[in-house]
C-alpha cells in the first residue's frame, strides 16, 4: 500500500495525485479474490487480490498483459463470480446476491466502459445513453434532460442521432462513457478504455474521466496496460501474475463542491 502527498512518483513515470490524506469512505472492497478458469487442468487468472476503493477515488489498475486486470475488474463489477473471495459494494456482498440481484446492483450502482465500446449497434447514440436510465425506470422527461446533459458533457450532442457504425472509435467511446455515467453510478469500471484508440483519442477519454472525477467526484477504476496514464489517477494498482503487488488500499481523492452536491459537469 502506498501513501503520501502530492506529486509523489508513482513508479511508472507519472505522478500520483494525492493532495489529501485518505478521507473518502470505502465503497468497493474486494477481499481475497481469486478466479480459476476450467481450461485444461485449470488456469488461475487471479490468484489473490485485495482491493479497496474509496468514494471519489480514481484508481488505475495496470500491469502486463495477462496479469489478471480484466478478471479483477469483472469480479469487481459482478460480471463474473470469483472462485474464492468476495466483493462488497456499499456494504452489499456480491456473494449474497443471486443473478437477478447482481443485475439490479449493476443497473443502479455500476457503470462500465469497455475496450471495444460495446454500444448497441441498433440504437442511436442518444438511445444508447438513455438505455440504463430506462432500465431503472426514470421518467421520459428526466431521461431527455439527463441524456442531453451527458452528451453535452462528452462533446457528442451533435452526433446524438447517429448509430455506432456512423461514429469513430473515439466518438463511440465518448458515448460509452456517457452511458456509463447515465444513472450516476457509485463507481465506473473501465476496462482498457483507450486500448482501441489512437493516443490522442485515448488521452481525451482519460481527460474525460479526470474531469468527471474532479467535478462530480465520480469514482473510477480504470484498467490499462499503459502506465503512462498514471498521471490521471489518484492511485495506481500494479498487478503481476494474478496478484496485486502494490496500491491495493485507498488514498485520499480530492473532493469538490460539485461532487458533494451531485451536480452535473454539463
Amino acid at each position: 500500500m502506498r501513501e503520501g502527498g502530492d506529486g509523489m512518483d508513482n513508479g511508472f513515470g507519472g505522478t500520483e495525485v494525492r493532495s489529501e490524506a485518505v478521507r473518502g469512505t470505502t465503497i468497493l472492497c474486494g477481499t481475497g479474490l481469486a478466479r480459476r478458469f476450467p481450461v485444461g487442468e485449470g488456469v488461475w487468472a487471479l490468484r489473490r487480490a485485495d482491493l479497496a476503493v474509496a468514494e471519489g477515488e480514481f484508481v488505475l489498475v495496470t500491469g502486463p498483459s495477462g496479469c489478471g486486470k480484466t478478471t479483477l475488474l469483472n469480479l469487481l463489477g459482478g460480471l463474473d463470480r470469483p472462485t474464492r473471495g468476495d466483493v462488497t459494494l456499499r456494504g452489499v456482498s456480491y456473494s449474497r446476491l443471486d443473478e437477478s440481484g447482481l443485475a439490479r446492483l449493476r443497473r443502479r450502482e455500476l457503470g462500465f466502459v469497455f475496450q471495444f465500446y460495446n454500444l448497441l449497434s441498433d440504437l442511436t447514440a442518444e438511445e444508447n445513453v438513455s438505455l440504463p436510465m430506462r432500465l431503472v425506470g426514470l421518467r421520459k422527461a428526466e431521461i431527455a434532460v439527463r441524456v442531453a446533459e451527458l452528451l453535452e458533457a462528452v462533446g457528442m450532442s451533435h452526433r446524438k442521432d447517429h448509430t455506432p457504425f456512423e461514429l469513430s472509435g473515439g466518438e463511440q467511446q465518448r458515448i460509452a462513457v456517457a452511458r456509463a455515467l447515465a444513472v450516476r453510478p457509485a463507481i465506473v469500471l473501465a476496462d482498457e478504455p483507450t486500448g482501441n484508440l489512437d493516443s490522442k483519442s485515448g488521452r481525451d477519454i482519460m481527460e474525460l474521466f479526470r474531469r468527471f472525477n474532479r467535478e462530480l467526484g465520480q469514482t473510477f477504476v480504470v484498467v490499462s496496460h499503459d502506465p503512462g496514464f498514471a498521471e490521471y489517477a489518484h492511485r495506481v494498482v500494479r498487478m503481476r501474475d494474478g496478484e496485486i503487488v502494490s496500491g491495493g488500499e485507498p488514498t485520499a481523492p480530492p473532493r469538490t463542491a460539485a461532487a458533494v452536491q451531485g451536480g452535473s459537469p454539463a
Binding site: T70, S100, A103, R106, F116, L120, D191
Partner: protein, 504 residues
Amino acid sequence: MVFFQMALRNVARNWNRTGMIIVSMALASAMVTFTWTLSGGYGPGTDLPWRQLVGADIVIYPNRFVFGGPAEGDVSWEWRRLCPDQPSDVTLFHPSLAEGYLSPADAPAPVFDLAGPALPLDRLQEVEGVAAVVPARLLQAYLVSEDDKGTVTRTPVLLRGRDLTADTEAFGIPACVVEGRYFRPSQQDDWVALVNGPGLKGPAPRVGERLELEVPVIRGFTADGLPVVDHGRLRPYYFLKYGVVKLSLGSVNLRNELPPGQALDVRPGGAAPTWPVFIDTPEVWVPSGTFDRIYREVAGQSLRYAPELLVRVQDMSSAKVVASRLGALLPGRAVLTVPQEVGLSGIRYQASLTNLAPFTVRVSRVYYERTSLALDVRAELNAAAFVVAGFLIAANMYILVAQRRREIGVLKAIGAGAGDILVLFLTEALGYALVGSLLGFGAVRALTLLSLFSSPASLVEGSSLTFEALGVVTGLTTVTALAFGFLPAWSAAVTPSANLIGGG
C-alpha cells in the same frame, strides 16, 4: 417494457442484417403453407376431363360408402350391393363398389327420389357457391355395330344425357372434341350422338354415319326406386354420329402407351413413341332433351329416380367448401368433388410389356384398392415439411442469439436480467416469425391465386388457404420460433456477462 420496445425497434430496423432470418422463416412458412395446400388439394390426374366426362364438379351419391367397415362388434353397418342395372359414376371411380360395400343399416334409399319430400332440392340449389344441381341422366344401353361379314356386335355402353348449355359454358367441351363437332345448344332435342371413341370395341360408325343404340326397357321400380330392367326387350334408337369425344388424361401420358386394350409394336432400340391416354369408359352422349324422351319411352314415366345428383359450382376453388355444405344438408349421403373421387379411386394407366419380339406394350387401366402413393404419404410429407421448417427456424434462432452474444453481455452489464434478455429475443423471434410467415403464406397464396385467375378450371385448392390456414401457418411458425428461440436465449441469458463480452 423497455426490452419489448427495444425488440420491436430492432425488428423494424434490422431488415438488412436479419433479412436472411426473415427469408428463412418465410421459406419455412411457405413449406408449411404448401403442404397445407397439398393436404387439402387434389391429386394428380384429377384435372378437367373427368369433370367434363361426368358433367359436374360435385357428385352426390344416395348412400355413404365405406370399404374398411366399422369397428368390430358394431352391428349397425351392413353389406350392400349395387343394383346391377343401376348405372352410376360410382362404378367409374370406385369399380370395387360394384361388388358391394358397407353402409349404415339405416341408410337412405340407394337412389334419389326427385319427386319425394325427403330430397331438399330447392335448399341444395340455394347453397352458397352452387351454380346448378341437376339429376344425373344415365341409362344402360347397347351400341349396335355390324362388320363387313354382317356380324352384329352389341357393346354395352353408358347412355349419358348432356346439359348442353352447361357443357358449353362451364366445361368448354368443344375444346376436347378432337374429331367431328360438339352439340350446339339448339340441338337439345335432336337425334345426334357423340361417342367416347377409345373405349369402344369392335367396328363403330364413322362421324356423319348412322349410329344405332338399343336401350333395355325398364319394367318398373323397386320400393327403393331401383330400376327393374328387362334386357330381353330392347328399343332401338338411331342417331347421327356427330363426333368422337376423346378426353385425354393429359399429364398422365405414358411412353409406349396406346388406348387401353390395344398393343403397340415397338422395335427394341427404336424411339419409344408417346401417346395420349384417354378416358376409356364406353359412353354415348346425347342431348338431355333427347335422353329424357328415350327415358320416357323405356321407363314409361319421366325421370324420377336419379342414381346421383350432379352439382356445378360457381368457382372450383371453393368446391370442397360447397361439398361440405351440401353434405351438412344431406346426412348419410356421400358428397364428393369429382377430383376427390378420382384422386381417392387411384385410377392409373399402366403400360406392361407383353412381348419382346416384336416388342409389344399393352396399356391397361389399373385401380388401386387404396389411395395412390402420393395420397398415402401426404401426412408424412406434411410432417416432414413441418420438421424441416422447424429445424430451419431453430437454426435461425440459434444464429440470431449466437450473433449477438456480446450484445447480451453488454445488456447484462448495464443491468438487464435474464428475464429481460428473454423478452428481448423472444419478442424479436416473434416479430421475425410473424413477418416471415406472412411473407411465406402470402407468396404461396399469390401463386395459387395466379393459377386460379389464369385458368377457370384450375384445381388449385384455393379454399384451403383461408384465414384459418393463415392462422395455423403463422401460429405454427411463431410457436416453433418461440420454442426453439427460448433455449439459446435462455442459455445466453444465464451465462456470465464476462464470458459473453470477452476480455479486452
